[in-house]
């Protein structure tokens, strides 16, 4: 059975801190790993990673994939209160993605 494990389950940081969120996986058919941000309702797409060692970056967020060790990290630098959300990792391919349970991030002033 495919498995995606995210850690930590939750964390609280102060504005300006840097955070690293982790995602490890065991799937039978790997095509890509995706990161999403979920605030109140719809998860919004952040990154899609398919190749090891290539960092994807968008503003203060960045992510990298290690296909040998089967994990990915999502970094957020200079955190802001607007970064407070649940961050979801999903792995798989084609029409079948397996999601982790997410990391709940709270950024305080």
């Amino acid at each position: 059975e495919d498995k995606v494990v995210q850690s930590p389950l939750s964390l609280v940081v102060h504005e300006g801190d840097t955070v690293t969120l982790n995602c490890s996986y065991e799937v039978t058919n790997f095509r890509s790993l995706l990161w999403y941000k979920q605030e109140k309702k719809a998860p919004t797409f952040l990154f899609m990673l398919t190749s090891s060692g290539i960092e994807k970056k968008s503003g203060r967020l960045s992510s990298i994939l290690d296909k040998k060790e089967l994990f990915s990290i999502l970094n957020i630098t200079a955190t802001q209160t607007g970064d407070s959300a649940v961050y979801l990792c999903a792995v798989g391919g084609g029409n079948k993605l397996t999601f982790g349970t997410g990391t709940q991030l709270k950024v305080e002033l």
Partner: protein
């Protein structure tokens, strides 16, 4: 640009009543369409996906069914709701086989 609409946003239904949740996508053609359920403390669970009109794949046997009567319309149904059907239902679309999913705002269903 593409947009996805999902309604209603919240729904409270008694056990044994029918269900119909609707999702439509605008700004694209022949999208792959998905229904997910998100339960508290659990990851998103894929319920159904569709690669074309009338083509439905079921991932989890349960009390629900899905239909795709038009290219950009996806419907989730039940004839008789169970308490265990309560949850947060999300519709999503993707353009192609290995593209990111884009989610609707979800329907919070409470079965009482």
């Amino acid at each position: 640009s593409q947009t996805i609409h999902q309604w209603p946003a919240t729904l409270v239904q008694p056990v044994g009543s029918p269900l119909s949740l609707e999702c439509t996508v605008e700004g694209t053609s022949n999208p792959n369409l998905y229904w997910y359920r998100q339960a508290a403390g659990r990851g998103l669970q894929l319920l159904f996906y569709s690669v074309g009109i009338g083509q439905i794949s079921s991932e989890v046997p349960q009390n629900l069914s899905a239909s795709r009567p038009q290219d950009r319309q996806f419907i989730l149904s039940s004839k008789k709701l169970l308490l265990s059907d309560s949850g947060f239902y999300l519709c999503a679309w993707a353009q192609g086989y290995n593209s990111p999913l884009h989610f609707g705002n979800g329907t919070r269903l409470t079965v009482t």
